[in-house]
């Protein structure tokens, strides 16, 4: 991989950290550079520290690392929080005129820029972060003009004067550094003619829902799922759809269920605490054979846990949530672009098999932005499969001898015909009670078994018809096998690259299908070491795979609330390879 640059801006919440970071990320993207961003919320000290970090290269970047090259520090704490990642080639941009005396580590170059004064010269102190961006351009050899388009995008709505002031602020920052410093740190950001788009996992997921035909979304605000609702609001209406902010998650999932019964593609999204409430309705969705996509953007639990922190702790909830036995699909996208594709697939699975689909993402993916060539989201490849939706002409063949529609007909593949309101002679009731083919309550032992079996058969049919494969990286013949699910894929791929350079070969399997999931027995047998990587304490996925393959695995678990980074993952994998397999 070409050389990467790691840049960050940090300060107090409310300092405009996110929007400043986003402007720089967009500028880099427009300059044809790849970008991977992350948001940092400190866990060691209580308070409002927040940082926006960018890793950029002309090659694809898909993880954070533990090295920081350029830091814009609006507070001393920003420096303290990042000391471990700074090195002797790093530079810290700070404002020496501010009330705090910046304590810059001696091995790091301090670049004192009067951010506030220069911003005032450009038209207002509020633009001090933009001055800092200009200063960063000077240090990194990045043309300040690349900021212009991002500034226009960010401030265009506020009038051309504001935009021009911001452009001036950036130039003043750049000029100040050029005039006062001769740093010689050697940074010189290459640009390319490539076009990239920059988006996060929730945006990709929302976009996937829109193009898959989702027209109804009901949700209750909760971090980190809310941004899906915010993305859809204002866009879904363009396609005749609607977003409802429900009074709670109990209502949200039932509204979505109602919409799906009415024939729309419907979705709700929440995080762990909301999934707890929605669990009440899982069984009804499955028993009434309603196609519904239920998204869980996981955050740290249990209970209120660490609401703005990363965790993959809801796997068991997605797999087993709800009393009784609830047939379902559980799909967990492994990257930001896959959030788009797996959402489309989730809608198709829901309608083809008239079964709840749990789409499981996580906080790290939801807030992380990454660059992609626009054709990654090839709209011509989007397929909408509505399954056994019947129209007027088909209804008759599904009526029983008394003319009643067999909405829960026991078919070979388990999937019944689906009539939606308005279809003549298709009227029927569906229910959470055990029922017969026409939806009437029953406790008849034979019918009970028939209906349980037909609902479960749908998942088995899908196992045969669909390709529930893993994504594979690295050396297929390597002795060491690393398996992961969800958003760890990017960090794993980068760890794989760096370990390869050290002569450590790995085979990496990234599994987006949790249920049904690929059978890894042969892969486990072919490997000498199997390591399962996940962001939780108990190894929920590792437990599943041990159960599937009857093989003990080694585990790498992280539950600090911070996602894996490629460097630490490489170290941990190396260490695990020398450990004994647990008994």
């Amino acid at each position: 991989m070409a050389e990467d640059l790691n840049w960050a801006i940090g300060g107090e919440a409310g300092d405009g950290i996110d929007s400043t970071g986003k402007i720089f990320a967009q500028a880099l993207s427009r300059a044809g550079r790849h970008v991977f961003t992350s948001k940092d919320f400190a866990s060691r000290i209580r308070g409002g520290y927040t940082a926006y970090k960018i890793r950029t290269s002309v090659d694809e970047v898909q993880s954070v690392v533990d090295r920081l090259d350029i830091l814009v520090a609006l507070t001393q704490r920003t420096i303290d929080e990042n000391t471990d990642e700074l090195h002797d080639g790093s530079a810290i941009i700070y404002d020496g005129e501010r009330s705090w005396d910046a304590d810059v580590p001696e091995y790091v170059t301090g670049v004192d820029v009067p951010l506030k004064s220069l911003a005032e010269d450009a038209g207002g102190a509020i633009m001090r972060n933009i001055v800092a961006l200009g200063a960063a351009c000077a240090i990194t050899g990045f043309d300040v003009e690349y900021l212009d388009e991002a500034l226009e995008k960010r401030f265009g709505g506020k009038g051309s004067k504001i935009v021009e002031n911001n452009k001036e602020a950036a130039r003043l920052g750049e000029k100040y550094v050029e005039d006062n410093y001769d740093l010689g740190l050697g940074y010189d950001l290459e640009t390319t003619d490539n076009d990239y788009v920059l988006l996060n996992g929730n945006e990709a997921l929302g976009m996937g829902a829109l193009v898959a035909g989702c027209r109804f979304y009901a949700g209750y605000p909760i971090t980190p799922a809310t941004s899906i609702m915010e993305y859809l609001t204002g866009r879904i209406e363009e396609y005749g759809g609607h977003v409802v902010q429900a009074e709670d998650e109990l209502s949200a999932i039932n509204m979505a269920l109602g919409s799906a019964r009415a024939g729309a593609r419907a979705m709700t999204a929440t995080s762990g605490a909301g999934i707890d409430l929605m669990t009440e309705t899982f069984g009804l969705v499955a028993a009434s054979e309603t196609p519904l996509v239920i998204t869980d953007v996981m955050r740290s639990g249990p209970s209120t846990g660490m609401p703005t922190k990363q965790e993959q702790g809801d796997l068991n909830m997605a797999l087993y949530g709800g009393h009784g036995e609830v047939p379902r699909f559980v799909v967990a996208p492994t990257s930001i672009d896959e959030c788009f594709w797996k959402t489309i697939e989730a809608f198709n699975l829901a309608e083809k098999y008239q079964t709840p689909v749990f789409l499981v993402s996580d906080l790290a993916m939801s807030v992380t932005e990454q660059t992609f060539p626009p054709e990654t989201f090839d709209m011509d490849a989007v397929e909408v499969d509505r399954g056994k939706l019947v129209d007027e002409g088909d209804v008759e063949e599904w009526l029983d001898d008394q003319g009643r529609f067999r909405a829960h007909a026991d078919t070979e593949d388990g999937v019944s015909p689906r009539a939606i309101p308005g279809i003549a002679d298709g009227a029927h009731m569906s229910t959470g009670l055990e029922h017969d083919e026409i939806g009437r309550r029953t406790e008849d032992t034979e019918v009970r078994v028939q209906q349980v079996d037909k609902r479960n058969r749908k998942v088995e049919t899908a196992r045969e018809r669909e390709e529930f494969d893993y994504r594979e990286f690295g050396d297929a013949d390597a002795d060491a096998l690393v398996v992961s699910w969800g958003s760890n894929e990017g960090a794993l791929i980068e760890a794989l690259d760096s370990l390869e350079k050290e002569g450590v070969d790995l085979r990496v399997l990234s599994v987006p299908y949790i249920h049904p999931r690929p059978d890894l027995t042969a892969e486990f047998e072919a490997a000498e070491d199997v390591i399962v990587v996940e962001c939780n304490a108990n190894g929920q996925f590792a437990d599943l795979l041990e159960h599937d393959t009857l093989t003990r695995v080694k585990r790498i678990n992280k539950y600090t609330g911070v996602r894996f980074n490629a460097d630490e993952l490489a170290e941990e994998i190396k260490a695990k390879l020398t450990e004994e397999v647990p008994a």
């Binding site: 945006e203 269920l257 308005g422 009731m429």
Partner: protein
């Protein structure tokens, strides 16, 4: 919509298992007649039923229907109606479903003013679980779980509705078939959330709020010269705990349903077979 629909078309071939004499028979008959009378047919009607004796209504009627989770019938009905403005939605449930486990949803459904009808089959008792206090039970009503009565005032559903910004509040009695049907028809025809609380006596577990009690105590607001468009008059009726009423208590003639507030006109079930033509615009937003 066919004009020759009869109310029996809304009746399924399933014989109700309600106790003989249950008020729910009359409640359901009035619903079916009102649906037929307002020009609906089973294929364009969606009934959402709650849990409890009342929840069985989805089985005994013939239409598109969902019998859901306890207390969540209103959210389901909301989802159906917002997705399909062309479908007539009627939500039916008991007093426990609506005013206890589902009370939160009731308040917000009223606020949203989605154009659907909500029938509460109020028998002031939990019948299916064999006789426990309900949220509308009297404070001294003795039951297996409240041997000396609940010792708390019953919920006043109409007051709750009015306080939440209701645009249609009515009360009917299952045994007064003509008036009951007429009131439900008015609720269906109301452009907004039509709430009808129906006294639907439980003959097995409630020996206080009986047919005789309601027959003797009910005042018909229509005969009484009550003007349902008069908010203050409605408030007086609703807050008078000493009397039982039937009739339309309040109707906001200027009701603007959710559909119009949000400009919803589309049939959301109708979607293209692939991504929409302008879908790449969504990607370009991220440049």
């Amino acid at each position: 919509m066919s004009s020759d629909v009869r109310f029996t078309d809304f009746k399924s071939d399933k014989q109700p298992t309600w106790c003989p004499g249950c008020g729910d028979f009359g409640t359901m008959n009035g619903m079916m007649k009102a649906l037929a009378e307002t020009g609906n047919d089973p294929d364009n009607t969606f009934v959402v039923a709650g849990i409890g004796c009342s929840g069985k209504i989805g089985t005994y009627m013939h239409s598109y229907a969902l019998h859901g989770v306890h207390g969540r019938a209103l959210p389901v009905g909301t989802g159906v109606k917002l997705s399909r403005p062309d479908i007539e939605v009627m939500v039916a449930g008991g007093d426990g479903d609506g005013f206890s486990i589902g009370a939160g949803h009731f308040v917000h459904a009223v606020r949203r003013n989605v154009d659907m009808t909500y029938i509460v089959m109020d028998n002031r008792i939990y019948g299916l679980t064999k006789g426990q206090a309900s949220p509308t039970s009297r404070s001294d009503f003795e039951t297996s779980t409240t041997p000396e009565g609940p010792k708390q005032p019953p919920v006043n559903p109409h007051a709750l509705a009015l306080a939440s910004g209701a645009t249609f509040i009515a009360q009917s009695f299952s045994s007064d078939a003509l008036r009951h049907q007429e009131i439900i028809q008015e609720a269906i025809e109301h452009d907004g959330f039509g709430f009808v609380n129906v006294y639907s006596p439980c003959v097995t577990f409630n020996d206080v709020d009986t047919y005789d009690y309601f027959r003797d105590s009910l005042v018909d607001l229509k005969e009484d010269g009550h003007d349902p468009t008069d908010y203050e008059a409605a408030k007086t009726v609703i807050l008078d705990a000493d009397k039982e009423y039937q009739g339309v208590i309040y109707q906001d003639e200027n009701s603007v349903p959710y559909r119009d507030q949000h400009g919803l006109t589309e049939d959301m079930s109708d979607i293209p077979a692939g991504a929409p033509e302008d879908a790449m615009d969504l990607v370009r937003e991220f440049y």
